[in-house]
C-alpha cells in the first residue's frame, strides 16, 4: 500500500477510536437525539457529492452527482434541524430550581458538558 493510503488508514482508525470513546454513559432520554445528531454528521457525504459534481463531464455523472447532492443536502439540513427540534425539549425551566432537581433526570441535566 502506498504512503498516502496508509495515513488515510491511520486517520480512519483514530476516528473510529474517537467514535468509541465519545459516546459515554448517555441517559436513555438522549439516545434518539444522539442518533439523530450522528445521522446529520454523515451528511458529510454532501462534500463528496460536491467533489464528484465538480469532476462530472458526462450526462451519467451529471445525473449521479445531482442525485447525490440532493440526497446529501437533505441529510445535512434536515438532520440538523430535526435534531435541534428534539433537543429543544431539554431546555431547563424555572421548575428546575425545585428540589426535584436532585432526581436522576435533574442531575443529568445539571451534569456539566
Amino acid at each position: 500500500m502506498n504512503q498516502e493510503l496508509l495515513s488515510s488508514l491511520a486517520i480512519f482508525v483514530l476516528a473510529v477510536l474517537v467514535g468509541f470513546e465519545v459516546i459515554s454513559k448517555v441517559p436513555a432520554t438522549l439516545h434518539t437525539p444522539l442518533m439523530s445528531g450522528a445521522n446529520s454528521i454523515h451528511g458529510i457525504v454532501l462534500v463528496g457529492a460536491i467533489l464528484i459534481a465538480a469532476e462530472a463531464d458526462n450526462p451519467v455523472s451529471y445525473g449521479l452527482a445531482f442525485v447525490a447532492v440532493v440526497f446529501g443536502a437533505a441529510n445535512v439540513v434536515g438532520g440538523y434541524v430535526v435534531t435541534d427540534r428534539m433537543l429543544q425539549m431539554f431546555k431547563r425551566r424555572p421548575a428546575a430550581a425545585k428540589p426535584a432537581t436532585e432526581g436522576g433526570g435533574g442531575s443529568d441535566a445539571a451534569r456539566p458538558g
Partner: protein, 482 residues
C-alpha cells in the same frame, strides 16, 4: 504559491469541521449541553462544506457551468425538502424522518462511490484498494438506503409493523450476500489484473452488486418487528457512517473518512446502548426475534378473566386529591392517545393542592427511546419532574397512588418473577410495590410484548377503562369537583 495556500486552508477547514463533529457529539452526551453540541456540529458542517466550495471553485481546471448548476440547484432542492420535512414533522414521527434522512445519506455515499468507479474504470487509478473501497461503499450504501426506507415505512405504518417473513427469506438474504461477495471478488481481481474483464462487464458486475445491496436492505429489515425499529435505524445509521468513510477512501478525502468513521463507531456503541436499554440483543433483533410490532396494541385479545377491580373517575379523583405523593407512569398508550397535555393538566391541578407529583420514565416506554420525555416535554412538563427508572423505583413503595396511563409491559411484574415470560429479565418500574395503583387503559388489551399483565389483577390495582385522553379529562373534572 497562493494555490498551495488555498489547498492548505481547505484541508485545515476540513479538519476543523471534523473536530467540531467530535466536540459536538461529546456535548450531546448530557441534556444540559446537548443542544449547543448539535449546533457546534452543524457549524463544523457549514465550515467543511464552504471549504469544499472554495476547493472546487479554485481548482486549476476551472468549474463548468453545469457542475455549478448541479451543486446549486441540487443543494436548494435537497436542503429545502429536508428543512421542510424537519420543520413540519410531528414529534412522534421524528424517528421515521431520521430514518429517511439516513436512507438518503446512504444513497448519496453509494452514488459517490459509483460515480468515481465509472470515472477511474480502465485508468491506472483503478487499483485493487480503490476497487475494494468502491464495492464496500456501494454495497453498504445500498443496504442502508433501502433498509432505512423500509424501517421508516414501518414506523410510519405504511408497511405493517409486525415481522413480515418472506418466502425463503433467510435463504434469499444469504443468496444475495453471496452474490455481492462474488461480484466483489471479481472486481477486485479484475482491478488487480489477475483476471481480465472488459469495462462493460465490470459495470455489469457493479450493477449486480447494487441490485443485491438494495434487495438485501429490504429482506434484512422486513422480518424485524416495528418495535425494534429504533435499534435497527441506529444500526443502519452506523452503516451509513461506514459507507461515507469508504466513499472518503475512494475519492481520498480526509473529512469524509474522519466523519464517516466517527459516525460508524459512535453509531455502533449507541446501537448497543439502545438494545441494552430494551434488553434485546442485537443479534436476535436482526435475526428477527420477538419484535412483536403494534399488532396487539389497541384492544388486543382479552386477558385472563382474573379478578379485575374496575374503578370510576370519582373514586380515583378522591384518592389522588388526598394523596401526599403521586407517581405517574406514562406508556405507549399515552402517546397513541396524545394525552400528554391532559396528564400535565391533571398533575398541575394536584400540585396546586399540595400533592407531590412525579413522572416515572421507563427507558423503553412507548415505541422509541426517550418517547415519553419528548412527549411530556412537548406538553411543558418540567424536565426535573421526569425521573429515570433507577431513581424512581425506590420511591414507589413510599408513593400513595401510582397512576399508570397507557403503560403495560414496562410495569409487568412477570419480567421479575416469571422466567418463562418473553420479557423476563427486562428491568421494569416497580409499580406493584405502591400502596395503591390506578391503571388507565381502554381494555385488558395486551401491550407490545403481547402478554398478560398480572398487575391488572393485583388487588391493590383499580382499572379505569378509557382512552388515555378521555380518562384523564374525566379525572381532571372529578378532581376539580372534589
Amino acid at each position: 504559491m497562493p494555490m498551495q495556500w488555498i489547498e492548505t486552508f481547505v484541508f485545515l477547514a476540513w479538519l476543523a469541521g471534523a473536530a467540531a463533529f467530535v466536540l459536538g457529539l461529546h456535548r450531546m452526551n448530557s441534556p444540559a449541553t446537548a443542544r449547543g453540541g448539535n449546533r457546534l456540529s452543524a457549524a463544523g458542517m457549514a465550515v467543511a462544506v464552504l471549504a469544499t466550495l472554495v476547493h472546487v471553485g479554485t481548482r486549476p481546471e476551472g468549474l463548468g457551468t453545469t457542475p455549478v448548476a448541479i451543486i446549486g440547484i441540487g443543494f436548494l432542492i435537497g436542503g429545502g425538502l429536508g428543512l421542510l420535512m424537519a420543520r413540519t414533522v410531528k414529534m412522534t414521527a421524528m424517528p421515521q424522518l431520521v430514518s429517511l434522512f439516513n436512507a438518503v445519506g446512504g444513497g448519496a455515499a453509494a452514488l459517490v462511490a459509483i460515480d468515481d468507479y465509472i470515472r477511474v474504470l480502465g485508468t491506472p487509478e483503478e487499483t485493487v484498494s480503490t476497487a475494494i473501497f468502491v464495492v464496500l461503499g456501494v454495497a453498504i450504501g445500498c443496504v442502508t438506503f433501502t433498509g432505512s426506507l423500509v424501517a421508516s415505512a414501518k414506523l410510519q405504518g405504511l408497511i405493517p409493523g409486525r415481522p413480515i417473513v418472506l418466502p425463503g427469506g433467510r435463504g434469499l438474504t444469504i443468496a444475495l450476500a453471496v452474490l455481492a461477495l462474488l461480484g466483489t471478488v471479481a472486481l477486485v481481481l479484475g482491478a488487480g489484473g489477475a483476471i481480465q474483464l472488459a469495462p462493460a462487464v465490470k459495470l455489469f458486475v457493479l450493477g449486480a452488486i447494487i441490485a443485491a445491496g438494495l434487495l438485501f436492505g429490504v429482506t434484512m429489515v422486513l422480518p424485524i418487528g416495528g418495535a425494534d425499529m429504533p435499534v435497527v435505524i441506529s444500526l443502519l445509521n452506523s452503516f451509513t457512517g461506514t459507507a461515507a468513510a469508504m466513499a472518503g477512501f475512494v475519492i481520498n478525502n480526509p473529512v469524509l473518512i474522519i466523519a464517516g468513521a466517527l459516525v460508524g463507531a459512535a453509531g455502533g456503541i449507541l446501537t448497543k446502548l439502545m438494545a441494552d436499554a430494551m434488553n434485546r440483543s442485537l443479534v436476535n433483533i436482526v435475526a428477527g426475534g420477538l419484535g412483536g410490532g403494534e399488532g396487539t396494541v389497541g384492544g388486543g385479545p382479552e386477558g385472563p378473566g382474573g379478578a379485575v377491580r374496575e374503578i370510576g373517575p370519582d373514586d380515583v379523583a378522591i384518592q389522588l386529591a388526598y394523596a401526599s405523593s403521586v407517581i405517574v407512569v406514562p406508556g405507549y398508550g399515552l402517546a397513541v392517545a396524545q394525552a400528554q397535555h391532559a396528564v400535565r393538566e391533571l398533575a398541575e391541578l394536584l400540585e396546586a393542592r399540595g400533592v407531590d407529583v412525579k413522572y416515572a420514565i421507563h427507558p423503553v416506554a412507548g415505541r422509541m427511546p426517550g418517547h415519553m420525555n419528548v412527549l411530556l416535554a412537548e406538553a411543558n412538563v418540567p424536565y426535573p419532574l421526569l425521573k429515570e427508572m433507577d431513581d424512581i423505583n425506590p420511591e414507589f413503595e413510599r408513593a400513595d397512588v401510582v397512576l399508570v396511563v397507557g403503560a403495560n409491559d414496562v410495569t409487568n411484574p412477570a419480567a421479575r418473577s416469571n422466567p418463562s415470560s418473553p420479557i423476563y429479565g427486562m428491568p421494569i418500574l416497580d409499580v406493584d410495590k405502591a400502596k395503591s395503583i390506578v391503571v388507565i387503559k381502554r381494555s385488558m388489551g395486551r401491550g407490545y410484548a403481547g402478554i398478560d399483565n398480572e398487575l391488572y389483577t393485583n388487588p391493590k390495582t383499580g382499572m379505569l377503562f378509557a382512552d388515555a385522553k378521555d380518562g384523564l379529562a374525566s379525572l381532571v373534572a372529578a378532581v376539580k369537583a372534589v
